[in-house]
Amino acid sequence: MNVVVCVKQIPDPANPGKLTSDTHTIVRDGKLILDDSDAYGVEMALQLADAAGGGEVTLVSMAPHGETSGLRTALAMGAAKAILISDDELAGSDALSTAKVLAAAIRRAEPDLVIAATESTDGYTGTTPVQVAEVLGWPSVSFVKKVAVADGVVKADRQTETGYDSVEVPLPALVSVTAGVVEPRYPSFKGIMAAKGKPVEELRIGDLGLDASQVGAAGARQQVVSVEPAEARKAGEIAVDDGDGHEKIVAFLEQLKVI
């Protein structure tokens, strides 16, 4: 079974994010890393391909400046190859444009299953995976916390407000997985060395038959009106616990009439 995992390479979330002053898009100039959320999808894909007794895991990613450092992390985990779409025309793309680009690249890989995180850590619109499924004309199961594949059918547990639904869907299909769904492996030294030699096919939008008017800032059809500091919350009383910290909390809750 061949699996595509959509992965995003993002600025390190440990550093404060920034927007460009002119277009108000996220600054992605420095080194990009594999979004933590995507490690779960990569791990899940590797396990499913293993369980199916064969097949390849292919990564599909869209990033500026031919960025591959995050892809190398996922290749080191065990993915076989990657398709990277990198094109200046893609700057300012929204979720819908991104989905069109990813779907076009996924078609080239002809997978049985596509896995994505439910949302990225930096942009977190949370619509791209299902938009990809709709562009492909495929069924999808979002917010999946458990997945197995047998006889061409995906069996997935999908998160609901009150518990979860068991869902079945025939391949080809897309699933978006929540964090914590599996324990991502750490790349081994051997894996890291092997990743350097794995193929990364770099494409431009023209290679995918897409037009510059459909993607990037031109395709986004939305604009940022303003960015302003939010009303700041003031810090209140800070006390060091000398064995009486709990009493301060009890007094605070009493004052609020919560207890």
Binding site: K145, D157, D165, G180, R221, V224, V240, D241, I249
Partner: protein
């Protein structure tokens, strides 16, 4: 452009209308123009309430035959737009099914979506949204520039739900177009996980735990404290990612937004990812070993201390009172 017509996706919670959909109906009513609801399943049962909150019509996609709502609801919306015109805006709840519906609809009608909306006003003839970015430190305002309909996916608790005085909404059936392969996912079984006490996003008190708890089994302290305060137990992304607690407990950007009367953060440092989901709480109590933890910058009461010492004493003190 004055707002002439808004559609609101009406989702359920059990038999009733989901609180978030009531918030959206209230907001749509306040923007003026006609408000119409879109739902599935038994529409007659909720038509009176949908009307009370401002919708005159309730379009009903009907029985989904075990399918997930995303594909049929999006296809029915797209068909209605193509046959009888689009509203100015479609308000979609930011929940599991809502995001599926918005995503599929946006591709079908080739229109972008604005998600994580926390504010919406009409300004100089266009609908301007608000979004909390960088952990809520900044507010970004945005608007669509192209043709409508504008698809907005709105986070919970962004607006208050208030009843109006409208009569029952008129239920109008919508047919589900042929879904092809997209309708292939079927629900084979539903599992309700019994959780005692109130729901996370409705509880007056929320107690959340983070990495500072040290290990998974210490989360029971969070649950015990939440129970004593008749509240709900939440979690930071770090411990959900680590597999200690299910995703449904996650508070933050990628989880739930909560605005309780009291939020108690125990062993949570206050990553921007977490703060955006809880900084709207009326009162915040933080317990953390690290005096420099960002969570203290927004706490009304901060206790610099070890959660393993403070929480057991707090639990004991509260047990003594009940």
């Amino acid at each position: 452009m004055a707002v002439n017509k808004i559609w609101v996706i009406v989702d359920r919670q059990g038999e009733k209308i989901a609180p978030l959909s009531l918030e959206l109906l209230t907001k749509a009513r306040s923007l003026g123009g006609t408000v119409e609801g879109v739902t599935w399943g038994d529409a007659d049962a909720i038509a009176a309430d949908v009307g009370k909150y401002g919708a005159t019509t309730l379009f009903n996609v009907g029985d989904l035959a075990g399918g997930l709502p995303g594909p049929p609801v999006a296809a029915a919306l797209a068909a209605a737009i193509s046959s009888s015109g689009a509203p100015d805006a479609i308000l979609v709840p930011h929940n599991y099914d809502g995001r599926d519906i918005a995503a599929r609809l946006s591709v079908k009608i080739d229109r972008p979506v604005l998600t994580n909306v926390v504010g919406l006003e009409e300004t100089e003839g266009s609908l301007v949204t608000e979004h909390a970015i960088f952990g809520g430190a900044e507010v970004l305002k945005a608007r669509f520039t192209g043709e409508g309909p504008a698809i907005f996916v709105v986070r919970t608790k962004s607006f208050a739900a208030e009843e109006g005085d409208g009569g029952p909404a008129a239920v109008t059936p919508w047919e589900i177009p042929d879904l092809g392969a997209t309708g292939g996912a079927k629900i084979t079984d539903r599992h309700v996980e019994e959780s005692e006490g109130p729901k996370l996003d409705e509880a007056p008190v929320v107690v959340s735990g983070g990495r500072g708890l040290g290990q998974a089994d210490k989360y029971s302290m969070i649950e015990d404290l939440a129970k004593l305060l008749k509240g709900a137990a939440g979690a930071s992304r770090a411990i959900v990612d680590a597999g200690w607690v299910p995703y449904s407990h996650q508070v933050g950007q990628t989880g739930k937004t909560v605005k309780p009367t009291v939020y108690i953060a125990a062993g949570i440092s206050g990553a921007t990812q977490h703060m955006v989901g809880m900084k709207g709480s009326k009162n915040i109590v933080a317990i953390n070993k690290d005096q420099e933890a960002p969570i203290f910058s927004i706490a009304d009461l901060g206790i610099v201390g070890d959660v393993h010492k403070v929480l057991p004493k707090l639990i004991e003190a509260l047990q003594g009172r009940s």
